[in-house]
């Protein structure tokens, strides 16, 4: 099963997979400790829902970090 992770086609190692599992696998440890937001198909998913969100073939998962500058 393939998803798009920040626009990059990514083959999921062990489908089916929850969003929580995918983030644990594909985000670096440093990234995971930071403040970030996740959108699936352009809709933000609340943190509490990561474990309950089943990824589907072709989903676009975007992980966003706050930009600091101005």
């Amino acid at each position: 099963m393939n998803i798009y992770l920040n626009g990059q086609l990514t083959k999921l190692a062990e489908p089916p997979m929850t969003l929580e599992h995918a983030l644990a696998l594909y985000l670096t440890e440093n990234d995971q400790q930071q403040s970030f937001a996740v959108a699936v198909n352009s809709d933000f998913v609340a943190k509490a829902q990561y474990a309950h969100t089943q990824l589907q073939e072709g989903d676009s998962v975007d992980v966003l970090f706050p930009i600091q500058g101005g």
Partner: protein, 248 residues
Amino acid sequence: MLTSNEQLRYSRQIMLDKIGEEGQVKLRNASVLIVGMGGLGNPVSMYLAAAGVGKLIIADGDQIDVTNLQRQVLFTEQDIQQNKAECAAEKLQQNNSDVEIEVIDEMMDEELCQYYIAQVDVVIDCSDNIATRYLVNRVCVEQQKPFVMGAATGFDGQQLVVDPRKPDSACYHCLFPASEKAPAQNCQTVGILGPVLAMIAGLQALQTIKLLTDIDVKYNQLNLYDGFNNQWQQFSLNKQSQCRVCGK
């Protein structure tokens, strides 16, 4: 109503149906706080002064440095070492002598935020750090003032309108819950191209003019600009009931 000078000066925006004389009067009667007079604050303040917003309160505690000139287009070589807000006020006043400009020549803290946000119709975040952004977001939520967030580094920008007057509006903290280990990046460490700031600042100024003239503005929408691939993306968000800042 408008004077004949105002009718002439602002004729190109008054001729827009959605603005009209009524909208121009609203702009003239409006007050806006701009937090940060750097790469975003420069163009935002220029467009709002030019558009005839009645009062601008501009805040920045920094001095102009030679490395700012590449993107902070209000400032010139002669302005180096001056306070950014003070210097910007002079330039903006030259553009439009009808605009009242108040300068805050220090960094915004809790007390300044509480005091100044209470006086304005819209708050624009042009700060260069996330601590200020969280502070301004929280005080805007407390005081129910619309908040126009913008940020940019590298080729990328983010823009969000928070409208606490709407019961379902998410806030910046809903989007990015504060983390103690948030990345310590700003312009000094990652670089930025001037026109990327102009894209985000232009959108912030536009959203502000719309808010002030009672045109519907989309909240709960994060606008993301990727200047490298020349793409805009929109993400929709929801108010988080467990948000520490705006939740119940």
